[in-house]
C-alpha cells in the first residue's frame, strides 16, 4: 500500500466558464461521428441527442457549454469509441449531438446500468458545472438502473430522453424552477 501522503491539497476551486468560453468551441466536436475524427467509421446505432436549456424564468441559456461522456455501443469506456463531445447552445438555448447509442455499462457490484450519456453544463452564472444523465425512454434496463433509482420517482423523467423522430432523442434541461432537472453530485 502507498503510505498516506504527507501533504493534502484540496482540489482547485471551480470558477465560471463565463460568456466568452467559445474561444475553445470547436463546433465539429458535437458530431462524435465526424469524418476524420476519432470515431470515423465506427459502427452502431446512430442517434442524435438534442435539448433546450432554460433558466428559472424559462428563458433560453444561449451561452452554455455542454459536454457529454458516454460508453460505446459495446458498453465500454475504454474500447474503441471516443465518447466525448462538446456543443454550444444556440440562440434558442438548444444543443445537439450526433453519436452512437451507448450500450449498457457495468455498475457497482454486479449491477448493470441502463444505457446513458453523462451530460455536463458550464455557463455564465454557474460557478461550477452541473451534471446530469440522459437515459433512453422505453429501455427495459431503466427500471433497475441503480442511479435512476436514487431519484424520487416524480422527478426521474427529467433524466429520460424521449424519442423525437427516427434516431432522434430529446432531453430538455431546466436549470431552476418548475420541472427543474435532477442534477447529480458526482
Amino acid at each position: 500500500m502507498t503510505p498516506t501522503p504527507a501533504t493534502f491539497t484540496p482540489a482547485t476551486a471551480s470558477q465560471t466558464a463565463g460568456p466568452y468560453w467559445h474561444m475553445i468551441d470547436f463546433p465539429e466536436w458535437a458530431d462524435l461521428l465526424r469524418a476524420g475524427g476519432p470515431n470515423a467509421g465506427a459502427q452502431g446505432e446512430r442517434i442524435t441527442l438534442t435539448g433546450r436549456i432554460t433558466d428559472g424564468d424559462g428563458a433560453p441559456c444561449v451561452d452554455a457549454l455542454v459536454e457529454i461522456w458516454q460508453a460505446g455501443p459495446d458498453g465500454r469506456y475504454d474500447g474503441g469509441f471516443h465518447g466525448f463531445g462538446r456543443c454550444a447552445t444556440d440562440q434558442d438555448g438548444v444543443f445537439r449531438f450526433a453519436t452512437l447509442k451507448p450500450g449498457p455499462v457495468p455498475g457497482l457490484g454486479n449491477a448493470t446500468q441502463a444505457p446513458h450519456i453523462l451530460l455536463t453544463i458550464f455557463a455564465r452564472g454557474l460557478m461550477k458545472h452541473v451534471t446530469t444523465r440522459a437515459y433512453f425512454a422505453g429501455e427495459a434496463l431503466n427500471a433497475a438502473d441503480p442511479v435512476l433509482n436514487l431519484v424520487e420517482e416524480g422527478r426521474r423523467g427529467t433524466l429520460v430522453a424521449q424519442p423525437a423522430g427516427a434516431g432522434a432523442w430529446r432531453l430538455d434541461i431546466r436549470l431552476q424552477g418548475e420541472g427543474e432537472t435532477v442534477f447529480l453530485e458526482i
Binding site: M1, T2, T4, P5, T7, F8, T9, P10, A11, T12, A13, S14, Q15, T16, A17, G18, Y20, W21, M23, I24, D55, G56, D57, C61, D63, W69, A71, Y77, D78, H82, G83, F84, P106, L108, Q113, L118, F122, R124, G125, L126, M127, K128, H129, V130, R133, P146, V147, L150, V151, R155, L175, Q176, G177, E180, T181, V182, F183, L184, E185, I186
Partner: protein
C-alpha cells in the same frame, strides 16, 4: 470486475456555491433542488483520452503567423496533480483569455477596447510525465462587466482541465498577484475558504521568467484525488 476507486468528495468551503448572491447571473441559473449524490461508477471514473493527433497542441498565444501580439509577453507554467500530489500525465489543458486591452476575440464582447489581429487568445496543452505544462501568452487586461456599478473583472486566464475520470473535469480561472480588483470581485470571492481562493492567484516566478524576453508566472492546479489509496502498481 472490482468496483472503480471513487474520487474524494470536496469540502464545500473550498468550492464556490451555485447560489452566489453577489454574482447576479447565478440568480436564475442555480439549481434550487438538492443535488442527488451518486456513487462513482465507471461513468464517473473513466474519461476520454485526448489523442494529440485529433486534438493538436497549441502552446504559443503570443503571436499569429509569426506576427507578435501587443502587450506584455508572459510565460505561464505549473503542475497538474491530484489532491495527494500525484502528477496527472498527458492531461489536456485548455486555456482562453482576453487580449492585453481586456477584449476577447469574441463576437459578443462589446467592450470598447481594441481588438488585436495578432491575438486570438486560446491554447491547448498536454501535461508531461511529471504533470507539468507551460505556454506563452500576453498578460490579459481587466475588463468591465455589468454585474454591479463600476464592476471590473480582475485580470485572469480561463483554464479547462480534463483528468483521468470525468468527475475530475473542471474549469477555473487563474488570477495575477497584487491585482487591486481581486478584493472587489464576486466571482473570485464567493469561495468561502481563503486559502482555496488564494490558490487561484498565480505567483511571479523568476525561474520561469526568461531574460530579455518574458515574465514568468506559476499556477499549479489540483484535481480531485482518489477517496481510497490505490495500490502503487496502478500509476
Amino acid at each position: 470486475m472490482p468496483d472503480p476507486i471513487p474520487f474524494r468528495r470536496p469540502d464545500p468551503a473550498t468550492q464556490p456555491p451555485y447560489d452566489a448572491p453577489a454574482y447576479g447571473s447565478t440568480h436564475k441559473r442555480h439549481p434550487k433542488q438538492k443535488l442527488v449524490t451518486v456513487p462513482h461508477t465507471l461513468t464517473e471514473t473513466s474519461a476520454p483520452r485526448f489523442d494529440p493527433a485529433f486534438y493538436p497542441p497549441q502552446v504559443d498565444m503570443s503571436q499569429v503567423n509569426g506576427r507578435a501580439a501587443m502587450g506584455e509577453r508572459i510565460i505561464v507554467a505549473g503542475r497538474v496533480t491530484d489532491e495527494d500530489g500525484r502528477p496527472l500525465r498527458g492531461a489536456m489543458v485548455e486555456v482562453w483569455q482576453a487580449n492585453s486591452s481586456g477584449r476577447y476575440h469574441h463576437p459578443r464582447d462589446q467592450h470598447d477596447a481594441p481588438l488585436d489581429p495578432n491575438f486570438e487568445g486560446r491554447a491547448r496543452l498536454f501535461t508531461d510525465a511529471e504533470g507539468r505544462y507551460s505556454f506563452v501568452s500576453i498578460k490579459p487586461g481587466a475588463y468591465p462587466w455589468r454585474n454591479h456599478a463600476n464592476a471590473w473583472r480582475p485580470i485572469h486566464i480561463h483554464f479547462g482541465l480534463h483528468g483521468a475520470g470525468f468527475a475530475q473535469r473542471m474549469i477555473t480561472q487563474m488570477y495575477f498577484p497584487g491585482d487591486p480588483l481581486l478584493p472587489l470581485d464576486p466571482v473570485f470571492n464567493c469561495t468561502a475558504d481563503e486559502a482555496a481562493r488564494n490558490r487561484l492567484v498565480s505567483t511571479f516566478d523568476l525561474d520561469i521568467t526568461k531574460p530579455e524576453w518574458a515574465l514568468g508566472y506559476r499556477f499549479d492546479i489540483v484535481l480531485r484525488g482518489p477517496a481510497a489509496t490505490p495500490f502503487e502498481s496502478a500509476p
